[in-house]
């Protein structure tokens, strides 16, 4: 089936395999109908909707952090910009909710380019620390620019007109679907190969004709836009936003954690990480709120020390135990984008190939 998708003449873009497509469609349909069929309580229903948004945000962070290998500690900046621009547009011009989110997202993407274009030429720790600066500077400006953000007293969104909190579940699902589709497209198309090349060695990538600046700018713009839209969704969900929450360092941390828990650079992993993150947040930490930072810290340390690929790595290990072996062409550094089974294997192969 997969081989046919690659070598045969089926008219699907090469990054889509029929097997994955069918599985994805079934999953989306199940999630779409679940609230209509299953007796979910209001609380659970809403939390699942919010989880969709977090999944989308984690994936968006992962485009930059996982596919390009540029760890951003400043994604709260775009989350906040998206949320506040969307809220302001809805308040001032009565813009429909979804248009407001999109506008907020685009502004956030533009903002990401503004700081990202100069800083993305930095690699590794240099870029990461610069993003800490971006996040902190944006938070400071947002907190003191009270004409726009309402300062420390925040901003309330219009109550009527938009989708209700109950309906936001489906909007969250659409957001997630968009994020997953973009993720697979980024991972499996030619762009994915270019990004992998940049991640492995920028200079070598540039030598073979991959323009690192253009690709990285593009991914950052996409990532910033998606996180901005998520910020808009969050603003609608909460119906009240304040800069201390939207721009907080903890929010940047949460995107990193979701991706790291699930498995940096994977698609399914990052979504799974978001689920784990929300479960921890809602069910464990509601009772131990003073422990949450430390718990996240310990989780990070344990994952990095024992399973740097997170949940995806665990899954891979489990499959190896049951006799599964990744394809040889992946291990040999072959065209990783054409093996359309699960993407964990190509990531694992990347990790194995990295120098000791």
């Amino acid at each position: 089936m997969t081989a046919a998708g690659v070598r045969g003449r089926i008219r699907l873009p090469p990054w889509i395999s029929a097997k994955v497509l069918i599985g994805f469609a079934v999953a989306v349909l199940a999630l779409w109908t679940a609230p209509l069929v299953l007796p979910l309580g209001d609380y659970t229903h809403n939390i699942i909707g919010l989880t969709f948004m977090f999944m989308a945000a984690a994936l968006a962070w992962n485009w930059l952090g996982g596919f390009v290998g540029q760890i951003s500690f400043g994604h709260s900046a775009m989350f906040g910009v998206g949320g506040f621009v969307a809220a302001r547009l809805m308040l001032a011009f009565g813009l429909p909710t979804v248009l407001g989110w999109l506008a907020g997202g685009l502004v956030a993407g533009g903002y990401a380019l503004l700081w990202g274009h100069p800083t993305l030429r930095l690699r590794g720790p240099y870029f990461s620390i610069a993003t800490i600066g971006v996040g902190e500077a944006t938070r400071l400006i947002a907190t003191y620019w009270s004409d726009f953000t309402g300062g420390s007293s925040g901003l309330s969104l219009p109550l009527s007109g938009g989708p209700t909190k109950y309906q936001l579940y489906w909007y969250g699902l659409y957001l997630l679907v968009a994020a997953v589709v973009i993720s697979y497209w980024l991972r499996r198309s030619r762009i994915g190969l270019a990004l992998l090349a940049i991640k492995e060695d920028v200079e070598a990538a540039a030598d073979v004709g991959v323009n690192p600046t253009r690709y990285q700018d593009f991914v950052l713009f996409l990532s910033g836009t998606m996180v901005g839209v998520c910020g808009g969704f969050y603003a609608s969900y909460q119906a009240f936003i304040d800069p201390q929450d939207m721009f907080s360092f903890d929010r940047s941390i949460s995107f990193i954690l979701m991706a790291v828990i699930g498995g940096i650079g994977t698609v399914l992993g990052a979504t799974g990480g978001a689920v784990v993150f929300v479960i921890i947040q809602e069910f464990l930490l509601a009772n131990y709120s003073q422990l949450y930072l430390g718990l996240y810290g310990i989780l990070l340390i344990l994952i990095i020390l024992f399973e740097p690929l997170g949940l995806a790595g665990l899954l891979l290990r489990l499959r190896k135990l049951t006799g599964y072996r990744p394809r040889a062409d992946v291990g040999a550094g072959g065209p990783a984008s054409t093996t359309a089974d699960t993407e964990t294997e190509s990531v694992a192969a990347t990790a194995d190939r990295s120098p000791p």
Partner: protein, 291 residues
């Protein structure tokens, strides 16, 4: 020009503190190629240690320096042997070390929060409000003392790195760890010592910071950022490079009051970082190699 003169002296005093603060980060990066993201957390923890020593046992912050240095040296060695040692070297390890040490930072913050709550703390010594006059302008004694201690520490460190066998070994490992194993240097031990030394310096900076600023468990984020700005400006090179980088940052921050509102001084450092990294990726002075 009395005002400008006051500002210049303020900037120099501030630069001394900044240099001591940044050196620990620069040392660890220069030798291990790891950015110690827990740096800010260590500074914060050291400030709390100083505060406890002062509050419970009446130990003056400046007398607490040797205690803090020893304690944080041991903590640093412990961090290296317990965690950092297991990370892969090279580019693959860079991302992992960032995330790991970030986790350590979160844990430190949480421990401090559990022990001492999230309230702001400050150390009120008897001489906290005393001031001394330099050529007609008045400066707080605390800031002058901080400058002197920081300068002393930097000189001591410079001597350690340039005049002792151990310092030679550290510099050799920074240049080429593989050749060092051939010449019989225990590279792992040098790494552990360097990580301890860098952490001890962060501890020293924390003690000094506790006498200058109020602090709470989230203290340290902007200190980490500033330290990083300085090592980038200074080019991760010698003590001199770090001192120059600290001066550039301190002067930019102090004189920015003419241009931007005070709450944006953190952003000044960041803008400086971006501008320098874009114009001179190797830093303002010299290369990114610990010489």
């Amino acid at each position: 020009m009395p005002e400008a003169f006051t500002l210049v002296i303020s900037a120099v005093l501030l630069a001394g503190f900044y240099a001591a603060m940044a050196y620990g980060l620069g040392l660890i990066y220069g030798v291990l190629r790891i950015v110690n993201l827990a740096h800010g957390g260590i500074i914060m923890a050291a400030a709390y240690l100083t505060w406890q020593l002062f509050d419970r046992f009446g130990i003056d912050p400046y007398l607490a320096i040797p205690i803090a240095v020893v304690v944080f040296f041991l903590i640093g060695v412990g961090l290296y042997l317990g965690l950092v040692r297991f990370l892969p070297r090279g580019p693959a390890g860079a991302v992992q070390s960032l995330l790991l040490l970030f986790g350590v930072w979160l844990v430190i913050r949480n421990i401090v929060y559990l022990l001492f709550t999230g309230n702001d703390q400050a150390i009120q010594t008897s001489y906290a409000t005393a001031s001394a006059s330099i050529l007609g302008a008045h400066f707080s004694v605390t800031r002058i003392l901080v400058f002197l201690v920081a300068a002393l520490a930097l000189v001591a460190l410079h001597l350690l790195l340039t005049r002792t066998y151990l310092g030679k070994a550290i510099r050799a490992v920074a240049q080429n760890p593989d050749s060092c194993t051939l010449t019989g240097i225990n590279v792992e031990r040098v790494y552990a010592f360097t990580f301890g030394l860098g952490t001890a310096l962060a501890g020293l900076a924390g003690v000094l910071a506790s006498t200058l600023f109020a602090f709470n468990p989230s203290f340290g984020a902007s200190e980490l950022l500033k330290s990083f700005v300085i090592i980038v400006l200074g080019g991760l090179g010698s003590v001199l490079g770090i001192a120059l980088g600290a001066c550039v940052l301190a002067f930019a921050e102090v004189f920015s009051i003419y241009l931007v509102p005070p709450y944006l001084t953190t952003a000044v450092g960041f803008v400086l970082l971006v501008v320098v990294l874009v114009l001179r990726p190797g830093g303002l002075f010299g290369q990114k190699v610990l010489r």
